[in-house]
C-alpha cells in the first residue's frame, strides 16, 4: 500500500505530558514521552501541536532520553499567542500533545570539539542552549573552557533556576548571570547580558560562541563578540521567524534567501551578516 505523502510529511506523533514545571511567569517546561525513537539534536526544534488549535515551533530544551520503547524529551514554552497560550493553560500531566519533527539544523557541537565555547543566552533563549550545556556536561573531556552568559529582564524571568547552581559546579565552566533591572538580593551583574562578553578570557581564534535570545540582543552580542576578536564563522545564532510548516514548504520563514526552518534555525554569523542588519529583510 502506498503511504500518502500527507501522512509521511505532516502527521504529528502522539506525545504524553509526563511532567510540567513552572519556570517563570507564563513559561513552563513540559516533559513529553513519545512512543519509539525521536532522534532530535540540540538546536533542532519540533512543531508542537495542540490538537485542533494549532502548531508552534519549539526548540529542544533537554537531551532526549531513551526509556524502554519510548523517548523522553523536554520543551520549554512561553505563552505568547493562541497556540502557546492554550498549551500553557491546558496541558497537564497526562495530556496529549502532537509532535512533528525533528526539524532544522542544530548547534554544530561535533564540529567544535577541542574548542572553547561561549554560550550567550537572553530570556527564553536559554531553552535551545540548555541541551548544549547538558551535552557538554556529559562529554566534558571533548571541549575546553566553557562560558555561560545568561541574562533575563529580572531574576524571576530566568529559566531553570533550580539547576543554574549546578552549572557553576561543572569543572571548567564559568557562569555569569545578569538581570536587566536591579532587584533586591541579586548578587550578580545588573545590565544587559551582552555586557558580560567583555569579561570572558579566551583566545578568540580557538573559541566558538552560541547565541540565542531576542534578535536585538543577538545583534548586540555579535558586535561585542566581533570586538573581542571572534571570527564571523565562529559565532552561531539561533534565529526566529514566522514559521508554519517547519519543512520549507510554506515559505513564510524566509530570511533573505534562507528558509530559517531548514537552513537554520542555527546559522553561523558569516552566512547571515548581509541580512542581519537590514530591517525586515
Amino acid at each position: 500500500m502506498q503511504v500518502s505523502d500527507s501522512l509521511r510529511i505532516l502527521r504529528s506523533r502522539k506525545a504524553i505530558v509526563v511532567r510540567v514545571v513552572d519556570e517563570a511567569p507564563a513559561v513552563k517546561t513540559f516533559t513529553l514521552r513519545i512512543e519509539g525513537e525521536h532522534d532530535i539534536k540540540p538546536g533542532q526544534f519540533n512543531m508542537i501541536y495542540y490538537w485542533g488549535i494549532g502548531e508552534a515551533p519549539i526548540s529542544l530544551a533537554n537531551l532526549p532520553v531513551r526509556s524502554g520503547g519510548s523517548t523522553i524529551i523536554e520543551h520549554t514554552v512561553r505563552s505568547t499567542g493562541i497556540v502557546t497560550n492554550t498549551i500553557i493553560e491546558k496541558a497537564r500531566t497526562g495530556s496529549i500533545l502532537g509532535v512533528r519533527g525533528p526539524y532544522g539544523k542544530g548547534w554544530p557541537l561535533d564540529k567544535h570539539e577541542n574548542m572553547n565555547i561561549v554560550i550567550v543566552a537572553g530570556g527564553i533563549g536559554l531553552a535551545p542552549l540548555r541541551p548544549v550545556i547538558k551535552y557538554i556536561e556529559k562529554n566534558r573531556g571533548k571541549y575546553r573552557d566553557i562560558y555561560i552568559l545568561y541574562g533575563a529582564r529580572t531574576p524571576t524571568d530566568m529559566l531553570y533556576k533550580y539547576e543554574l547552581d549546578n552549572y557553576f559546579k561543572i569543572p571548567g565552566v564559568k557562569v555569569m548571570l545578569s538581570s536587566d533591572v536591579r532587584v533586591e538580593g541579586w548578587s550578580h551583574y545588573v545590565g544587559f547580558v551582552t555586557d558580560l562578553v567583555k569579561n570572558i578570557e579566551v583566545k578568540p581564534e580557538e573559541t566558538v560562541s552560541y547565541v540565542c535570545g531576542p534578535e536585538v540582543m543577538m545583534r548586540v552580542a555579535v558586535r561585542r563578540l566581533l570586538e573581542k576578536g571572534f571570527r564571523k564563522e565562529n559565532i552561531y545564532l539561533s534565529l526566529e521567524r514566522r514559521m508554519r510548516c517547519g519543512i520549507g514548504l510554506c515559505g513564510t520563514c524566509q530570511f533573505g534567501h534562507y528558509f530559517v526552518c531548514k537552513d537554520g534555525p542555527v546559522f553561523p554569523y558569516s552566512e547571515v551578516e548581509d541580512y542581519l542588519w537590514i530591517e525586515g529583510v
Binding site: 510529511i9 502527521r11 505568547t80 510554506c250 533573505g256 528558509f259 525586515g280
Partner: protein, 361 residues
Amino acid sequence: MGSVYDLDRLIRILRENLNLQLQGYRYHAGRVSWGEINGIADLPLSVEDYVEPGLYRLKEGYRFRHSSVSPKVFLLPSEQVFLYESEDYARVKAPDTSEMRQTALFGIKPCDRRAIEVLDNIIGSKNPVYASRRKSIAAIIVEECLEPNNNCFCGAVGSGPSIEGGFDVAYARLDEKRVFFKYGSELGRDILVKLDLKPAGEREVNEYREKIESTRELTSRAFSRVMREVQENLLSKARDKDLWLKVSEDCVGCGNCNFVCPTCFCLEFEYSINEQNMGVKTAQWTGCLLYTYGQVAGGHFRPELYTRYRHFVLHKFVFYPKQIGLIGCVGCGRCITWCPMGIDLRGSVNSVAQGGVNAGK
C-alpha cells in the same frame, strides 16, 4: 502546419486516445479562467487580452496571453487539505488522491512552463498536494507567443516567448487560422504523427521565426541593464530604505501581486475541528505583501509595507537564484496587470537598479 481545427483534433487525441483530462485556460461567459478543456469551444481562441499596469480588458482578437489565473491554481490550489487526525492521534486520514486523474496541461504559455519549473524546484515533493498534482501531469501542451501583451517581459528573464524543452507539443498561431506545431518529446512526436499534419513550408517556418524573434525583442526591453547587474544592484540597495519607500509608495498591501504570480507559493496553515471530531490541517494561499505574513505573537518581522514589497522583488530576482538557481520571476507581467494600484515591477526594478531616487542627490 495545421489550423485551429487541428487543435480540436489534438484535444480529442489527448482525451480519447491517451485518456487524459485537459486543464488549461478556459473561456466561458466573457472571461478566461482556469478549468477543464473538453473541446475547442472551451479555448480562448477568439479573444485577446489588452493590458496596462492595473488594467485588463478582454476584447475580440486571437492572441490570448494571460488572465489572472495560471497553472498554479491547478498545481497549488488556493485551499489545500493535508490531513485529518483524531484527538488521540490514533486515527489519521489523508485526503484521497487516488482519484487524481492523469492530466494534460493544455495551452499554457512558455512563461507558465518556466513557472512550473520554478515551483518544482522550490517546493517539489515537500508539499503533498503539489506532489500528487504534479505527478498526475502526463503531457504538457504549450502555446508559444508570436505577439506579447504590454506587460509581458519573458525575453528579459529568458522564459519565453518560445519554448525549447520541458513540453510535449507546442503550437503557435501565425494568424487567426494557421497554426504552427512542433514537438518536444517522444510522446509529442507520436501525437503529431497521429495528427498527420502537412509539413510546414520554408515560408511558414520563416514567418514563425520572425514573429518569435520580434516578440523576443519586444519582451526583452524591460530592464535597462543586464540581469546580472540588476541583481547585484538590487541586493546592494536592499538597505536603502528611502528608495524602497519610494518605489512602494502606492502599494496598499492587498497581496494581489502574490496571488496572481505563477511562482508565488507561500502558504498559511490553518487548523480546525470538523463535525466528525477530527482535527484538520489545511493551508491556503498567503503572500509576503500581506500583513500577517511576517506577524508573530507579540511582534512582526516585516511590519512596514516597504519591507514586504522589497522582499517580493528581492525574492524573485535575488533570493530565488540563490535558492534554486533560477530567477523566480518568469516575466508574465501578471503582478503588473492585476495590481489595483498599477505598480509596475519593471519600473521598480529599474529605479532600484539604476541607483534609484537618491542617485542624483
